[in-house]
């Protein structure tokens, strides 16, 4: 189903592949604003173990744009996820 628009003060987050399996959902809404560098900690709080199992190797996008927020010298460490934004957690799929 098309994810509902995020209610005011929230952003949407989409979970793909292994992220969807672990969270058992394809999307949800989280409170905004949120500094992008705190995203992983926030998710780890909600889904213990997700950081190591999924987030450590996944791609993250904000509004369909790849963002680099995890590494020490990440270029977009200061990015803030705003109300209404769409974030996606995209683990690599390697089967075929």
């Amino acid at each position: 189903m098309a994810p509902a628009k995020a209610p005011s003060g929230h952003f949407s987050i989409l979970y793909f592949a292994a992220a969807s399996t672990l969270t058992t959902k394809s999307n949800e809404h989280l409170p905004a604003p949120l500094e992008a560098r705190h995203l992983f900690a926030k998710l780890e709080e909600k889904y213990p173990g997700i950081k190591e199992k999924v987030l450590s190797s996944c791609a993250v996008t904000v509004n369909l744009e790849y963002v680099d927020i995890d590494t020490e010298d990440a270029e977009q460490a200061d990015l803030v996820i705003k109300e209404g934004d769409e974030v996606a957690i995209i683990p690599p799929v390697s089967s075929g």
């Binding site: 793909f16 190591e52 790849y66 995209i90 683990p91 799929v93 089967s95 075929g96």
Partner: protein
């Protein structure tokens, strides 16, 4: 003795010259064709000028377009008699076979000639590689190489559309060659039997213009991407599992490492491999045929786009290439497709940046261990011999009189827990077994990991734990598909205190239902 760098420099020069030669040949074909067209044009004009009588007018303008060229061709036959066979750049059968795509402006004659002069390597002839190969062979790509080390299995057939029931047991490469040759005998097929390894990657990929990654492991994805960057080949990478797929055109344009105008590589997008225990194969996770089929078809489409695009000038090579993107397919989501804009090459990428550490020497020497980089899981072997029972002995316990106590067998005397996921349990199960899916077991926190601040939340015991605790006297046998999850479950159950401090026996059935089928009940379904 020549130093390594000299050798490499020579190799690179040879590769560059070969690429140039290939391009020159294609340009020659195109130029020859243009010259012929021009001559034709001139002849038309000449005859129009030389013969100002009404008949000539009729010949030029009064004859239906369809016949005009044919008539002039017939009239000028003697002039070009020697060139008769080369009059048309494509063979007659090719005009027919490729007619439906030839008449599209995206392809046209030039595009078809580019396809004919191109060579594509398809690595993996499974769910992705089969449809990708079928469409590329159908479209008339000149040479197609096929790499695979597996044989066709019955469980492949629902999605691997080149293979057939009659060819179960044949190598996938040979089976695909049979199917593809009957589809289009014009295309040259090159079989490469065996899996790609770091040592074979560069020599295998080198002769090809473009590579399709249709493999199924993280290690092969990094290896192929690295080799493509080092050799300067564009790479079309796709993957699929369950209902999801991903597609990327990588290293496009394929500029040398350190050139920031080049397209990103697999490591730029996914610098860290997923933890090995989280990697699920199609055999374990499942795959829907059309999902992987869609991804393979899209690979063929992207390949045709890359190959037929007019050859870029070396100076502005980046200009004619689409910006890099990651296409995500989710069959049960709405919308089904999403396109993610990717970044350019990562400034510190291990393969394609100026600080690259992945080199051809490292690859050729085998010093890059992709399997180690991606990690591997050893078969689970965590239980002691007194915590395990073979399928045969468990069968005796279920079916025979107990040789020690003389008691009649009783299915009520123990609990058999099947930890496969519910959908698998519903396919087939042993009589009397109860289903507690491994996902439920593993998400139940063991007593040792309960943090103090979670104590209140975790005080509520899951139903499956209290249910098992309510029969403290009955031994628990745990079974799964292959005998790995069952061991982890036994550990977890003991961790949760279900063995009443060692009072109750908890163990697993060695080798799971696979062993049960092989040594006890041959009719038990294999899936």
């Amino acid at each position: 003795m020549a130093s390594v760098s000299v050798l490499e420099s020579l190799r690179q020069q040879i590769a560059a010259c070969e690429a140039q030669l290939l391009d020159l040949r294609r340009q020659l074909v195109e130029a020859e064709h243009q010259q012929r067209q021009q001559r034709e044009q001139e002849r038309l004009q000449r005859s129009a000028q030389k013969a100002p009588d009404p008949l000539a007018y009729d010949f030029t303008y009064g004859i239906h377009d369809d016949f005009r060229t044919e008539i002039f061709a017939a009239l000028s036959q003697d002039e070009d008699a020697q060139q008769a066979t080369k009059r048309w750049p494509l063979e007659r059968t090719e005009y027919k076979r490729y007619g439906r795509q030839l008449i599209m402006p995206e392809i046209g004659l030039q595009g078809q000639l580019r396809l004919r002069h191109a060579s594509v390597l398809i690595i993996g002839v499974g769910g992705l590689g089969c449809p990708a190969a079928a469409y590329l062979v159908g479209a008339g790509v000149g040479t197609i190489g096929l790499v695979d080390g597996d044989v066709v299995e019955e469980s492949n057939l629902h999605r691997q559309i080149l293979h057939s029931t009659g060819r179960v047991g044949m190598t996938k490469v040979d089976s695909a060659v049979v199917a593809l040759h009957s589809l289009n005998p014009i295309v040259k097929l090159v079989p490469h039997h065996g899996r790609l390894t770091p040592e074979t990657a560069i020599p295998t990929l080198k002769p090809y213009d473009l590579v399709l990654d249709c493999t199924d492991t993280p290690a092969s994805r990094y290896l192929i991407s690295d080799a493509c960057v080092l050799l300067g080949k564009p790479l079309i990478s796709a993957s699929a599992l369950r209902t999801d797929g991903q597609l990327m055109v990588l290293n496009n344009p394929p500029l040398p490492p350190g050139d920031t105008a080049g397209g990103p590589c697999y490591r730029c997008v996914f610098p860290k491999p997923p933890p090995p225990e989280s990697v699920v194969s199609c055999g374990d996770g499942g795959i829907l045929g059309p999902v992987v089929g869609v991804m393979g078809v899209l690979q063929a489409l992207e390949a045709i786009k890359v190959l037929t695009r007019s050859s870029p000038l070396p100076t502005n090579g980046a200009a004619s290439v689409d910006p890099p993107s990651l296409l995500i397919f989710s069959a049960y989501a709405n919308p089904m497709f999403r396109t993610i804009r990717l970044r350019t090459r990562k400034p510190k990428c291990a393969t394609c940046s100026a600080q690259a550490t992945v080199t051809p020497e490292a690859l050729n020497s085998g010093s890059l261990d992709y399997v180690q980089f991606c990690g591997s899981i050893n078969p689970v072997n965590t239980l002691g011999p007194n915590e395990r029972i073979s399928a045969e002995n468990y069968a005796k316990l279920r079916l025979d009189v107990n040789p020690f106590t003389g008691r009649e067998p009783s299915k009520d005397g123990h609990i058999l827990v099947d930890v496969r996921e519910k959908v698998q349990f519903d396919l087939c199960s042993l009589e009397g077994s109860v289903n507690i899916p491994f996902s439920v077991v593993s998400s139940t926190l063991g007593s040792s990991v309960i943090r103090p601040d979670d104590a209140v939340e975790n005080a509520k015991e899951p139903d499956w734990v209290s249910e098992l605790k309510s029969h403290p006297d009955k031994p628990i046998f745990v079974v799964c598909r292959l005998g790995n999850d069952s061991q982890l479950t036994v550990k977890r159950m003991k961790n949760l205190g279900l063995d009443s401090g060692g009072q109750r026996w908890i163990g697993d059935i060695k080798g799971g239902l696979k062993a049960w089928r092989e040594s006890v009940d041959r009719d038990f379904p294999e899936y």
